[in-house]
Every structure is written in C-alpha cells, then in structure tokens.
C-alpha cells in the first residue's frame, strides 16, 4: 500500500529548508542570493528557534560559503550550503575543489540566469557552467521533488563507493517561490534514511593526521582525476540502489529519467526542470488529439545517463530537446548530450534543438506544442538552432 503523509502547501524554498531541517546537518555555511535567500532565511529561523542544532556560519561571500563547507566536511562534519547564479559562479573554483577532494557535500541550487545583464529569474546557465566540475547534478520538476531529492542526495553523496558532492537544481522563482502541496515525511524516517555520516580521513582525528590539498605535479594529477571518473561511473551503479531504498522508505520512485507516456510515443520531447510540468500538459493535450507524443524528463544530468537515454530514444521518429541555457558558440548542453548519445543508434530519430526561457522568459504551452508539431510535421533540422518565446 502506498504510504501517504500529511501534505503542506509550501514554496520550494521552504520545502528544501524543511528537508535540511530534517537532515539536521552538522554545519551550514550560506550566503544569501535571490532567489535562494528564503532557503537560508527559513533555515536560520530553525537555528534561532532551536529546531535544529546545526552550527550555521554567516559567511561573507559564496566563495567563503563553499570554502567553509569544504573545511567542515574535511573535518568530518556533514555540511551543506545553497546558492544561485553568480553565487555559484563566484564559488566555481571551490566547487571543483570540493569534488576533487571527494567531499560529500549537498547543495541545493536555485537556478537563476548568470549576469550580464543582471537577471534574477530562472534559467539553467548557472548549473550548466558547473557541469564539468565533478558534482552529481539533479534537476527537479516541482517542490515535492526538490524536497525528496535533497534528502536522497545526502545518502548518495556519502555512499562509500561514491563520495562525491551533489547539486540539486530547482528552478528559480518557479519552484523556489511557487506554492505547491508537498508531502512531508516524519522526522525520524528522514533521520533514519540519511543515517549518521561516516567521514573518510577526518581532519579532527589527530591519531591519523592527513594532508588535504597537496600539490600534484604532472606525475599524479592525471591519476587523481581518473579516480573521479571512476566515482562518477559508480554513481550509475549506486544510484538505483539508493533510489530503491528511498522508495521503500518514503514510497516515491526516482530514477535517472522519468518516462511520461513514452511506450508508444513516436515524438519525444526531452527537458530539464519545471518546464516538464508544462510539457506533460501539452503531451496530454496532443494525445487527446490522437498524436503519439511523450516526454523524457531527465532527473540526473551528471553523470549523464547515456545508456538509459539511448535505449529510450532509439527508433523514435523525432526527438525535440528543450534547453534552458545556451553554450555560446556551440549547441546547447542538453541537446549536445542527447545528440552525442544517439551517435551510434542503429536508427537515429530526427533531432531538433530549442532554446527557451532564458532569463526567466515564460514558456507557454502553445510554444511547446509548436515544437512538437515541428517534429510531427517532419520539420526538424538537426543543425538548426531554434528558439521558443524569443522576439525576433
């Protein structure tokens, strides 16, 4: 029987903060930036009211936030932070260091466009700029997923065969500030699921002194990076196990991707984040009219679930990829990844790339429908960059 717990109508930020409350990490170091700020505010209130006994560090910049979290995690603590856009960009250097040092940090990222010009609204340029950093990356569709995956991320990050930091991406304002009903689990269930952290090489263990962050010359750097590649490969084996345990505990099934009405779909749309809700609506709309369409929602962007995507997309008639970020001078990231995954497919579908929603530009159902129609009408050109919602 499916377990159902009490639901509360809360914003995505409150949901994430609530997850952090239940995780009750040892240390949180965070710097406010719109639209992540409410997460920090809610959590600070939990600390001030004694609802958590986390030690919270009011750092003076995002760079110091990630630096402090790296120090805390190396010391042996379970440490978390959160940020958006330019905050993520500012901590970029340390984001790489966190992953290379194999520290199991969990960071919700409220996706917001990178400057310039300064824009506080949603797009994926911030997280996409970190796609090579070695962090595991999830993109969530709604408030429930933001809550769930923040909890799941802790377990995944700390797995002994993984030991990589995890970024949980949630769309700025759309998820962070939009109110939705979220099913909240009992505290003790979350506590039991995340368990006690088991740090590897804690600095505070003076019986076994370790050196973190040495200088690698050309004789060892390559080998250290190869270890990171191995860890990312391990994620593909470990995540299904963690997802299974999550389902057993909380009743929700997560996977590398979500398949929506794909069984007999000829035309598939691929997307990340909250737009998937609108795509589902359009899929239903088109299906009512008899079109065989479906949605491949990508949950895990890093490591990129190439095998799953290959097996799902092979043989389809048309695939339309929506990207909420641009990679100037090349194809946008999700499209590039999908296209590359289909390189060896025996039967390659027609492919089309659509950039949408930059800087929080709203994406309408009609626009998504138009992209589907391009596929249905055989009007996809693989090397043509198209835009949805852009004024020419």
């Amino acid at each position: 029987m499916e377990k159902v717990y009490e639901k509360k109508a809360i914003t995505g930020a409150e949901a994430v903060a609530y997850a952090m409350k239940q995780i009750n990490p040892d240390v949180v170091a965070a710097y406010p930036i719109t639209p992540q700020t409410p997460i920090v505010e809610y959590f600070a209130k939990f600390v001030a009211d004694g609802e958590v006994d986390t030690e919270m560090i009011p750092v003076e910049s995002e760079h110091s936030a990630m630096s402090a979290v790296v120090g805390a995690a190396a010391a042996g603590a379970r440490a978390m932070t959160a940020t958006s856009a330019n905050g993520l960009a500012l901590m970029h250097e340390i984001v790489y260091i966190a992953a290379s040092t194999r520290l199991p940090i969990v960071m919700p990222v409220v996706n917001r466009a990178l400057s310039a010009p300064i824009n506080i609204h949603c797009d994926h340029s911030d997280a996409m700029a970190e796609r090579d950093s070695g962090w595991i990356q999830f993109y969530v569709e709604n408030n429930q997923e933001a809550y769930d995956l923040t909890i799941l991320a802790v377990k995944l990050a700390e797995h002994e065969d993984v030991r990589l930091p995890v970024m949980v991406n949630l769309d700025g304002f759309i998820i962070s500030h939009g109110v939705e009903p979220v099913e909240l689990y009992p505290d003790d269930l979350v506590k039991e699921f995340v368990g006690e952290p088991k740090p590897l090489y804690p600095l505070l263990d003076t019986e076994h002194p370790v050196t973190y962050g040495p200088l690698d010359l050309y004789d060892y750097y390559f080998e250290h990076k190869r270890q990171q590649i191995e860890a990312m490969d391990n994620v593909k084996k470990i995540f299904p196990k963690v997802a299974e345990e999550f389902e057993k505990t909380f009743g929700k099934r997560y996977d590398f991707v979500e398949q929506y009405k794909l069984d007999d779909a000829d035309y598939v749309m691929v997307a990340l984040g909250s737009t998937n809700s609108t795509v589902k609506y359009v899929v239903d709309w088109l299906r009512e009219e008899g079109f065989k369409v479906g949605l491949l929602k990508v949950w895990m962007f890093r490591p990129f679930p190439k095998e799953q995507i290959q097996s799902i997309l092979v043989g389809r008639k048309g695939v339309v990829v929506l990207d909420r970020s641009a990679s100037f001078g090349a194809e946008p990231p999700l499209y590039e990844a999908i296209k590359s995954a289909l390189y060896e497919a025996a039967v390659r579908p027609a492919l089309g790339s659509y950039i949408y929603g930059l800087g929080g530009r709203d994406i309408k159902a009609e626009e998504i429908r138009k992209a589907f129609e391009d596929a249905i009408n055989g009007n996809l050109i693989v090397d043509e960059q198209r835009f949805l919602g852009l004024r020419e």
Partner: protein
C-alpha cells in the same frame, strides 16, 4: 620511488602518511656544511631553535651535532651562534 597507479592511491588527493617528506633527503642540496667546535659551544640551543630544516641534533638541551640527511647548509646556525662555535665549510671538503 616507483609511481603508483590510480587504483593504489587514496581518493581525494589526500596524503595519509604523515611526515612522509622525511623520505626526501634534502641534505643532497648542501654546498656548505656546518662544523661544530664543541669547545666553544655553550648549549644555548639557538642553532636548534632557528634551523629551518630541523637538522640540529640535541638531547635534553645538549648540542650533539647535525642531521646531514636534511641539512641544506644555509648557515643560519653559524650565524645565530653567540660564541661562533659553528663554522660553515665547503661541502667538497667532505666528499669521499
């Protein structure tokens, strides 16, 4: 020392052998060597205090000599010695 493969080293770039640098004998850098004139030594411990490479050997405050595995021959010990009990001589005088 043979270089290790990626499967044989700790993850995260961590070094879990404290003080492993002791395997690297910096004494090979030496161009000048300190020589102790024991009759002048007053065991003030200044040489031991100031040696940047922890290459002064002393026992309970009594100067014993130098650790030539690590002494780089900088001459600080001779410079700070209040009685000039340490003399820096060219390392070539000691080559066998």
């Amino acid at each position: 020392m043979a270089l290790k493969g990626w499967k044989d080293i700790p993850i995260g770039g961590v070094i879990d052998e404290p003080g492993k640098a002791r395997e690297y004998k910096t004494g090979t850098w030496r161009v000048l060597r300190p020589v102790l004139h024991e009759d002048k030594c007053i065991h003030c411990m200044f040489c031991w205090l100031y040696c940047p490479d922890l290459a002064i050997v002393q026992e309970q405050g009594k100067m014993k000599g130098f650790n030539f595995d690590y002494c780089k021959g900088c001459g600080l010990c001779a410079n700070v010695c209040p009685t000039k009990a340490i003399e820096m001589k060219p390392e070539t005088e000691f080559l066998k």
